[in-house]
Symmetry: D2
Subunit: 363 residues, 4 copies
């Protein structure tokens, strides 16, 4: 039996950090070795530093782990090379680069390096081949950064991928219904969003447009060539705790029929399914037949097996004809749109043997 790879989590007390902790608990490949947080939390037991928000209780294996400060030298002391990052972008910018340059492997939810040409925005079902950018980075820095996409992009890119491959896409118009958890624990005041809608999320529409073009892009000469897809994105915050719903209109390049579209979406699979990665859902896209789905309260935990709960994107109200098709999709923003996405990326790296060649430190 193989030893588990030791991993650390940076920014472990935030909402995405908590999801990392939950998803990495009892993980078949990984074992949590350290947790970091800002200065006020460092030195405390994790259970005292965190305001735990998840339904499952704090895993016993970490509740008394002493939180260390999110600082390069503190982390270097641990010698643990595989690191999940739930840091805010402005903090991630320096730390993630420094750690990479020190030979560390960063699986990051931060947006800091997503649009960096060397760094993949990896959704293994969609752009598996971008994993090659890991080797590009390792040659230059020994370490590497792999990012997951923005929380509103993950579901969209996954739904577009099979349509793009089969029919080509002329244009996408998307309006989002993004839950408050997307802003983090302290991102929104109650008086602003309670019983209200805020039709603006800073930088979000640009991220949807840019990241989607990059994710769907082809690798050529060790670079991602973005596709020239036209995307109209409009983002709105809604008073819902979890789950990002999106209203999508896709214009295809070729005509299609509804039944085919549905089959293509429902049967979409990729490398993680072939490799049976632990966090990979059997069906990355689940098309719901009910006339009023997906709904956040009912559908954000879609995904099987158990470890893949929240990793499947649900699609509903699929309608249209010829070249124009419409649907709503729902993604669990802190799982498939954040922590779960990076865990899946790390599982892929593990399965690809990337941690073997003097990679991760085994426990």
């Amino acid at each position: 039996m193989t030893d588990k790879i030791k991993v650390g989590i940076m920014g472990a007390t935030g909402l995405v950090g908590q999801e990392f902790v939950r998803l990495l608990k009892d993980h078949p490949f990984f074992k949590i070795e350290f947790l970091t947080a800002s200065e006020v939390s460092s030195g405390k037991a994790y259970k005292d530093a965190v305001k735990w928000m998840l339904d499952e209780t704090i895993p016993q294996e970490v509740e008394n782990m002493t939180v260390i400060k999110t600082q390069v030298d503190e982390i270097l002391k641990t010698g643990v090379k595989v690191i999940f990052s739930a840091l805010p972008s402005r903090i991630a910018l320096q730390i993630e680069r420094d750690l990479r340059n020190s030979g560390y492997y960063i699986f990051s939810n931060s947006s800091a390096y997503r649009m960096n040409p060397e760094v993949p925005v990896l959704i293994p079902e969609v752009n598996y081949e971008h994993v090659k950018l890991i080797e590009v980075q390792r040659e230059r820095y020994q370490g590497f950064i792999v990012t997951n996409s923005n929380c509103a992009v993950s579901g969209l890119a996954m739904a577009l991928k099979p349509l793009y491959d089969e029919f080509g896409i002329e244009e996408v118009t998307v309006s989002t219904y993004q839950s408050i958890s997307g802003a983090g624990l302290g991102g929104l005041y109650a008086m602003d969003i309670s019983g209200n809608l805020i039709p603006f999320i800073e930088g979000e529409e640009e991220k949807i447009e840019q990241e989607t073009r990059k994710i769907l892009g082809r690798l050529s000469d060790s670079k991602v060539k973005q596709i020239p897809l036209k995307i109209n994105a409009s983002c709105c915050r809604v008073p819902v705790r979890r789950g990002h719903l999106e209203s999508v209109v896709v214009k295809l390049k070729k005509e299609a029929d509804l039944i085919t579209i549905k089959e293509i979406l429902q049967s979409f699979k990729g490398v993680p399914q072939n490799l049976k990665l632990p966090t990979a859902p059997d069906n990355p896209l689940v098309v719901l037949e009910e006339r009023d789905r997906p709904q956040p309260v009912l559908d954000i935990f879609t995904g099987s097996p158990q470890r893949a709960k929240g990793m499947a994107v649900t699609i509903g109200r699929l309608r249209g004809e010829k070249k124009v098709f419409k649907f709503f999709l729902l993604a669990n923003n802190t799982v498939r749109g954040a922590a779960g996405a990076s865990v899946l990326n790390a599982e892929l790296a593990y399965a690809e043997g990337i941690f073997n060649s003097n990679g991760g430190s085994h426990g």
Copy 2:
């Protein structure tokens, strides 16, 4: 001084009925003479029959008025010819027709007759000329039905009108964020929508597509010729009490620039403004400059003077270039999207002298 026109309200205990009561209180043209409701409420004082939901208290002039049953013969007994209808469509279907055929004037929020070729879906700022259908009906039936649009259509049609006139419109894509009040007092269970999103409202997308085409249509041969506008509508219920927000993408036929678009929207006015109708807002479209508006909690009561509160449609996040422009709009669904719209229609009819020619019964 002219006597006020006596009016009745059918379906006066529902949410839209309550708005009718509020808007017709102390009205310079109209005076409430009767209120109807279903059998269980009839015979009661209005204040005992209604579950009053509005911030302003029940007007003294109606609180002790005895509610009559929503039945043609009961209403005929009153001899009051100008009637506002907040009835459900299935009930309106027969009663509104019977009353019209008895020579009554119906200003209806019901969808029952909206797509009937003789009946205008009137938004006086947008399609003033459709008022001529009133004469067409009067010739045939003595009475007439004038409808206001669906609650999600009113704001959209108003925002599209000046763009359509100036640049032509190729295609509209709209995703709605519709508040629970749009479903009426008993339209949604709390467990279904509380902290949740429901991406389906029965018949709503069809209404948006059809009614908008009719409202923007030209009158020819006493018929409305619908415009062939392509509209992609996707409707979603959100856990907000009042106000319908919409994310809109408009493709124009001609190129435009953002400043012009903004000016055209902001300066949009119509007949109600020229006539200074009591419920007409000074500016039917109010373009907000803040980066995160409109918001239901902050903006649903936009409109001046006082009597026109909630009658202005707010537009924000206006952006785009060339032929594609995007914005969010917000309409007060029970005011501009329902009761206020029909009150404005009746004010227009009053100003046009339609009630004079042996029309309304004066008090």
Copy 3:
């Protein structure tokens, strides 16, 4: 290995019915054999009849089970004697009695028979001895009815029990903050409770006062002698999806100190813990130290092991001195306050051998 007892669930499509299904899935003692619902649902596969609201997906073992009609003769045909009831009281009144009189064993969440002197309102940690009423009923009817308490009573009775035994209680004042799920799937309209408070729940204050007195009562002569405890209950519905919070002030008969009170609550255990019943939480009462707990979103799933999630009552803000102590308590209203409570009662009956003596039908 013992065969599992076959069980049925009446009212299986409602919210409490769904919790029964979830809790009885893979149960070590029980196996679901039939599900009933009202006429419109009968004949359908369970997954088509139910609007499934729980985070966990519909158990495979029941998703295609054909729902039968909630009718005595339909149920008698199954021959399955152990039945969980999530029926509304007015329906339960006749069916539960008829089934009991036919020799069936009913574990009911309905309030229909709670105050019946032959029927126990059983919370095994609190009034284990009331289980004797089962024998009293069996002698008379062959079958029996065992009820769980009202959803707002379960947590209160559990918190009061150890204080009552140790110090005596002079008076209890309780104000509730009850979630919308307590009213069932169709119990509240969104426009009534969204962003609002409703300080009235029909019959609830009476239930709190009466059921608590019965639960804490002693058995004597095969009857429960209610205690004469003074209870001031005030009930309010709040816009929260799950969990009933209660603000409690207890006046003891003897003086106590805060540390002792805390210890007594935290260490409270009963027969289910001794018997290690599957759904029994290790600690029925969990005293939280944080200054702002318990909170529904954070604490309703308290309870270990896994199968007992939601079965522990959390207590926080414990304060007071001498004879007056104050605290907030939180109970998961559909688990400890409903389905979980009856499942625990049935587990107790199983452990007591009540199903052996020609009792349950083994699978």
Copy 4:
């Protein structure tokens, strides 16, 4: 005709500051001369500095008023002596004292000086005589501070007053349901309170107990003698935007009957009603007969005339017998519980001629 008194508002951009602006607009006694805010807002036009949250639009008379910094020397420059304070307590502590010592008249919503023996916590309907403390302060400092009570105290003290006078009160137990606006615009994060309950508000229970004892106290030797009333207060934040609901149990010293209690509450009036002060509601306590009231969404704007909307406290579900009576009460926390309360206090001072003796600066 008398000139209006010039007034200033400190902390004018917060939620209570906005209510001050709204209530002082077109006021028959007062005219807004200056508005203060923190450094980031000073120098801006009010409409650009404020995030306006109220249904009514920003009054024209102040929208372009330049906001000044909340600093003693800035305020002294204005020469405007009558000042409303919506400052946070830690800031109020120094500024209010300095201004008073400079001869200014402060009507404060801050808690900084509420428990100071020289300073009245004034609710003119309840403790009119405490107005004498103004003279006590003026003799010492020329200026004075008058505070309104905590937002959760105002309604309670008003409801208790007539019962206390008539029957004496042995003990009060109160559990609160306090809306998020009570914490101010930035007082609560959405992820903490959305769909949740937080059974803790720092310092609130102590304020309820202490302020109520002071408000109901008698003046003797120029000091308020607190009454020795036993109060059990438990405070909880609920996901409601406006209005504080309270569940109250009162134990009287003498027996009473329900009809008398109701009459005494409903007919309660005081000096503001006798003087017909502009913001005084005709009936300070309004007893509702409906079985499920008061409710925040329906009742927070109770109070007539128009200017007194939100100044009446609604009471419902009145029940009890002998010495124990229970009810729910609702107070508009930003009006009767904050800005409206201080405006009423200033109106009383005006009517008492306190601003005449070289007091306020006339415009």
